[in-house]
Homo-oligomer: 149 residues x 2
């Protein structure tokens, strides 16, 4: 139940991102007590910042609030499989658990391509749970890109 509501919030962030013309991906970061400490959708276009993926935004926000470069014990919910960039940041930040929705054959870096967590250069590997609300997350992306063609 708790997992579902966190992913629901991530989906809301993804829908808000789409409404802003951003690729619809949303992320939610939850601290060890279960409190949502950050939520965001992509803002790369708005900010002209190629690093402003949803995952990066919530991690930066939570680290700034915590006064730390690391977030041990935190859970990250994201609607899409993280790209290699975000996956490597998740490792660096020591996120405990990663829940993601849809797989991303084109740009994913967790279950395919560089498989960031499968190399010794990833100094931490989170527990990974995929497919949570995956159909809904994938549908959002599909509708977004279909409307742009």
């Amino acid at each position: 139940m708790r997992f579902t509501s966190h992913m629901d919030l991530a989906l809301e962030e993804a829908r808000s991102a789409a409404a802003r013309g951003e690729v619809p991906v949303g992320a939610v970061l939850v601290d060890p007590s279960g409190r949502v400490v950050a939520s965001a959708g992509n803002r790369t276009r708005e900010l002209n910042d190629p690093s402003a993926h949803a995952e990066v935004l919530v991690i930066r926000q939570a680290c700034a609030a915590a006064g730390s470069e690391r977030l041990p014990g935190h859970d990250l919910y994201v609607t899409l499989e993280p790209c290699p960039f975000c996956a490597a940041l998740i490792a660096a930040t020591r996120i405990a658990r990663l829940y993601y929705g849809a797989g991303d054959p084109k740009s994913g870096g967790v279950a395919q391509g560089p498989r960031i967590f499968s190399h010794a250069q990833a100094h931490h590997v989170p527990e990974i749970y995929d497919g949570l609300a995956g159909d809904e997350a994938a549908q959002l992306l599909k509708a977004f890109f279909a409307a742009r063609r």
Copy 2:
């Protein structure tokens, strides 16, 4: 000559980072006309931002100034082999040429580990030139970590 002076500036940024207690890595971004548009050293500790690697800082700065998420035709000089996080951002940003100094067996993501540019999920591959002032860059890192032990 031009290449050397850009890497010299990156080394200066690395030395400044060490003086601030940051891992000594420096980066310089050069636009297609040869103008230095951004230079930075690591600031992860100062900013409590695990994404504040030298490469990310120069890319974010240059993108904000250019009003664009991409930097085609730009050259990036960095004293250390980029980590998977930075390498993936370099791909996303469409940096044309990557010059780096020392290899990084522990955390590198270009020539080892996830080898970010060797997968289809990297949508762009820069020209890569390694070993530029590599000894000096490696020495800076070695001295920094030796002093902390």
